[in-house]
């Protein structure tokens, strides 16, 4: 265990050092990649060891930062799940990054990106290992800052700079909330989680509520829960694609981790309204996230909004766990939590895969705008097939892993209908409806994402000339695609482990509810079962039989290739195709109350006759509710106050000296008044 921990740390650290030392060529690129893969292997081994063995790994380093009490690491089941999902995405991302970063060879950003990527991986892997406020906040801030620098890798684009500002602003706001939460629990300064747990038990109810709300804001911002999601659709598209994969696959899950660590582990759960709050935020994020994703034309922004949706879905499970725990429905709580954890792991696999696919498209065509893509399935068969697999998985369709966790979440919410309080029952019914709506809309969204990007006639010359990506990038995607398959087929083996992780958090004895019967997974009461392996195998056999039967018995006349039928029009052009915007139009109309679209059509007629049209331009935008009504007033107010403060900064040395004297006098006066001297 110790060896694996040091393997992980040295792997990432070596990678970071290699990037700094070895220059900006292929050697540095591959050395840092290799080291990162070794680090990820160490992390995965460590997580697997803790998950399988059940024992807690711990390691204290009191000599590091001794003045502040030293650093301490420990890994329990909960942390292991998050370390595992981080390591799972880390190795493929590093591999993919080796190909992706080839464009930066010989430029300074190569060095910076290689260094920061390894630092990011290191700090992110240490977050779930951190035991104590100081270690946790250091790793947390390391993760935030290194990812900020990674987002800013291509800072010469103006949109990237804006994205960086939003990200930094939101992440520091979150940090302030977390500091507040930690200080409220342990006013005495740095403490280990065990000390926090003891201190939290003595807190009055009001303070506990405040701590929880601060944790929801601080961690919810990192997770991307609406309305704290605004940085996400900006930062993810701006970052290099393997970094987007890591941020979306792993980093936002750290918000979920934090919420579980503080809320369930340190505070030990709370009143029912905590659960209701998390469920409410989750349902809001899930439905609005997917609605925003649907209307998005930018492939990476679409994926970013879909991450908001998926974090919402995870939050539904987490909220249900809180709620059931407060109602003393402990097996149901453990089951809901296991379902949420499983969805977190699954989302890491397929969202990582999809972001890498989007990166491959961006690399090959130079655009993320789906209205300029299309037909890539011919030029990029590998990327297309892998992206299709990810799309089926994220749309929650059987037999892939997305469906398994969605099924679990449905089943997890079901006992809520039987809760003693009718209010809880109604909340659960609505949550179920929202979850189902989200699943349906996600399917529509990913038909659009895959269909418009990869199918039909290319909508631009760049798309027509697209080429397959480098092998290293494909390898990264293949690993995650394989992970999707393994997570689905092996779910009957993985789920009992997650149940064992979830049980102690909600106060059940160790093995937790039994969630397995042979090759099938089942609910704690054993009444509903499902087996992704058998369903998948059955589907495969039926498709094979159908194919053989058709081959054997149907007409053997050769296939004829013809033109697509266009009402008698012979020439088929890309302009006649449905675009990304057009695909989403029915849903945009149906949810017009929410989108409030503004449309602007201007038609340029032929000078001689109004029956001929030169060109039509169509512009449309949807109302950014949160930016306009929540953030714009805050930003305007802040700017106003900053300008008032500016009046103090006259630039005159005399004035500044006067401030110094005034400050000194005030301080002395305060000391005298409070009687400290």
């Amino acid at each position: 265990m110790r060896a694996l921990f040091f393997l992980m740390v040295t792997g990432y650290a070596t990678g970071a050092a290699a990037s700094l030392v070895l220059g900006t060529g292929p050697l540095a690129r591959w050395a840092s990649t290799l080291a990162a893969v070794v680090g990820a292997a160490g992390g995965l081994g460590l997580a697997a060891g803790v998950c399988m063995g059940g024992a807690v790994f711990s390691l204290a380093a009191p000599d590091l930062l001794a003045s502040a009490g030293g650093l301490a690491f420990s890994l329990d089941g909960l942390g292991a799940v998050f370390l595992a999902l981080t390591s799972l995405v880390a190795a493929p991302s590093a591999l993919y990054g080796a190909g992706y970063a080839r464009a930066w060879d010989g430029r300074p950003m190569q060095r910076q990106a290689g260094f920061m990527l390894n630092m990011f991986l290191l700090s992110m892997s240490l977050v779930p290992l951190a035991d104590g406020t100081l270690t946790f906040l250091l790793c947390w801030e390391g993760m935030s800052l290194s990812s900020y620098f990674l987002v800013m890798t291509e800072a010469d684009h103006p949109e990237v700079a804006g994205a960086g500002q939003w990200y930094l602003g939101m992440t520091q706001m979150g940090l302030a909330c977390l500091l507040g939460a930690f200080l409220l629990i342990a006013a005495g300064g740095p403490a280990t989680f065990a000390q926090l747990r003891a201190a939290a038990a003595l807190l009055p109810a009001g303070t506990r509520d405040l701590v929880f709300v601060l944790a929801v804001v601080g961690f919810g911002g990192k997770a991307g829960l609406i309305p704290l999601h605004v940085w996400l659709p900006r930062a993810h598209p701006a970052a290099p694609s393997h970094v987007s994969a890591l941020m979306s696959g792993s980093m936002i899950k750290m918000g979920v981790y934090g919420l579980l660590r503080i809320g369930l582990d340190v505070l030990g759960g709370g009143p029912a309204w905590w659960g209701a709050l998390v469920i409410g935020l989750g349902a809001l994020s899930a439905v609005l996230g997917v609605l925003y994703a649907l209307t998005e034309d930018d492939l990476k922004r679409l994926l970013a909004y879909s991450s908001v949706e998926n974090v919402g879905v995870i939050a539904l499970g987490v909220g249900a766990a809180y709620l059931f725990q407060s109602l003393q429905m402990l097996p149901a709580a453990a089951f809901a939590l296991a379902a949420a954890l499983f969805h977190a792991v699954n989302h890491a696999a397929f969202k990582g895969l999809l972001f890498m696919g989007a990166g491959a498209v961006l690399h090959a065509t130079g655009t993320r705008n789906m209205n300029r893509l299309g037909g890539l399935i011919r030029g990029m068969p590998w990327t297309a097939a892998l992206f299709l697999l990810g799309s089926v998985a994220i749309a929650g369709l059987p037999p892939l892993n997305g469906f398994v966790s969605e099924w679990l979440l449905f089943q997890a919410l079901l006992p809520g209908i039987g809760a003693p309080s009718p209010l809880v029952a109604v909340l659960m019914v609505l949550a179920l409806g929202m979850l189902a709506l989200t699943a349906g809309l996600a399917a529509a969204c990913f038909v659009k994402a895959f269909g418009i990007t990869f199918l039909a006639i290319p909508r631009s010359p760049e798309a027509a000339a697209a080429h397959e990506t480098a092998w290293s990038m494909r390898a990264g995607m293949i690993v995650l695609a394989a992970a999707c398959l393994v997570l689905s087929a092996g779910s009957f083996a993985i789920l009992p482990r997650l149940s064992a992780v979830a049980a102690p958090l909600v106060g059940l004895p160790a093995p937790g509810p039994v969630l397995r019967a042979g090759l099938t997974i089942q609910t704690p009461d054993g009444l509903a079962q499902m087996s992704p392996v058998i369903v998948g195998a059955g589907l495969g056999v039926v498709v094979l039989v159908a194919w053989l039967a058709v081959k054997g018995f149907a007409s053997r006349r050769p296939l004829r290739v013809g033109e697509t039928w266009g009402c008698g029009r012979v020439v088929q052009t890309p302009r006649m195709e449905y675009t990304s915007t057009a695909f989403a139009e029915p849903l945009r109309r149906i949810f017009a109350e929410f989108y409030r679209p503004t449309e602007d059509v201007s038609i340029d007629f032929h000078p001689d006759s109004r029956y001929f049209v030169h060109s039509i331009s169509y512009r449309s935008a949807i109302l950014p509710w949160f930016e306009r009504y929540l953030y714009a007033p805050v930003i305007a107010r802040t700017r106003l106050w900053s300008e008032r403060v500016l009046a103090l900064q006259s630039g005159s040395v005399h004035a500044y000296l006067a401030y110094l004297v005034a400050a000194l006098v005030l301080l002395l006066g305060w000391l005298v008044a409070t009687g400290r001297r």
């Binding site: 099924w407 449905f410 209908i417 189902a436 990913f446 269909g451 009444l527 509903a528 006349r557 139009e585």
Partner: protein, 313 residues
């Protein structure tokens, strides 16, 4: 008979009955509208014709276009291994519950929509976009109706739901049960492309949904898709028939019981087909943007169904 054979037997019976169901609905509709109509076995002849015909594929289409019919057909046939058409419990009943059934059908819709986009035809895109819209909006109703049923039976397992109604016949007329039936009936209309959501007998471009999506298909591929569509209708009907009124479904596996089950299933299908024929004769197609109103009505029904089943427990 070996018990695992029950799955393939069910699939075979469903595959055999499905085109007949579509033919029967068409025939009944024609009689109700005072037309002679084609004979009820017409769809069988059409399938034979299509399987024998040459296939024309668009030059823009990719491998996905050719794979999709098999996935659509395969996912629908897989569903018939899980739904209690003839007997409960089924050999593969533990592998998938009602949610698996619904999402396997959505998998078919997903690939059909992608195949609609693939040839680059404006109609295909239109059909795909509308089909996914309707499918997405039908999803919440379906989930709530499932949970209204599951709450009574304690499980989403299809066999459990059917057995529970068999053991407590009075439950069949409980308000939650009836409301859930109504909700799933409306979803059936939307999911299987019947009036008032979609018109299965039109090829008028601007109103098509399902037909627009499959416009580019021909020959054996079209045959597979048509067969799968008929099968989907049969699956929804048998969910309505055998979950809400499971009488006739065999609970011991003997040839006599299975024959009796097949007979009652055929009767239930015909009865529901008659209702559809009647509905389609009486009402006109809704405008596409009025469809959400119908689906929200079905959502409210499902919500009431859940509320009723937990208030009256």
């Amino acid at each position: 008979m070996r018990p695992w054979l029950l799955g393939p037997v069910q699939a075979a019976v469903a595959l055999l009955l499905a085109p007949g169901l579509v033919g029967a609905i068409r025939w009944m509709k024609a009689r109700l509208q005072s037309r002679a109509g084609s004979p009820p076995w017409q769809p069988y002849l059409e399938l034979r014709k299509l399987f024998a015909k040459e296939v024309v594929v668009s030059s823009n289409a990719s491998w996905l276009f050719r794979a999709a019919p098999f996935i659509v057909f395969g996912s629908t046939v897989t569903v018939t291994l899980l739904v209690p058409l003839l007997a409960v419990p089924l050999p593969f009943g533990g592998a998938g519950d009602l949610l698996v059934v619904v999402y396997l059908l959505l998998l078919g819709t997903f690939f059909l929509a992608l195949a609609g986009l693939d040839p680059g035809s404006p109609f295909g895109g239109m059909g795909a976009s509308r089909e996914m819209t309707v499918a997405a909006l039908a999803e919440p109703t379906m989930a709530l109706a499932i949970f209204a049923l599951a709450w009574g039976a304690g499980s989403t397992n299809l066999g459990q739901i059917a057995l529970r109604t068999l053991s407590m016949p009075s439950e069949a007329l409980a308000p939650g049960h009836v409301l859930a039936f109504a909700a799933i009936f409306l979803v059936t209309l939307a999911e299987t492309g019947r009036l008032p959501v979609d018109n299965p007998s039109t090829h008028l471009e601007l109103t098509m949904i399902h037909e627009a999506m499959i416009l580019e298909y021909s020959g054996r591929y079209l045959a597979l898709i048509e067969w799968a569509a008929a099968l989907k209708l049969l699956v929804f009907f048998s969910l309505l028939g055998n979950l809400f009124a499971p009488w006739g479904v065999a609970s011991v596996i003997t040839p006599g019981a299975l024959l009796w089950a097949a007979g009652t299933l055929a009767l239930k299908l015909l009865a529901l087909g008659g209702v559809i024929a009647l509905v389609e004769t009486h009402i006109a197609k809704l405008r596409l943007f009025r469809v959400p109103e119908l689906l929200s009505a079905s959502f409210i029904l499902a919500l009431l169904a859940v509320t009723a089943s937990f208030l009256l427990r």
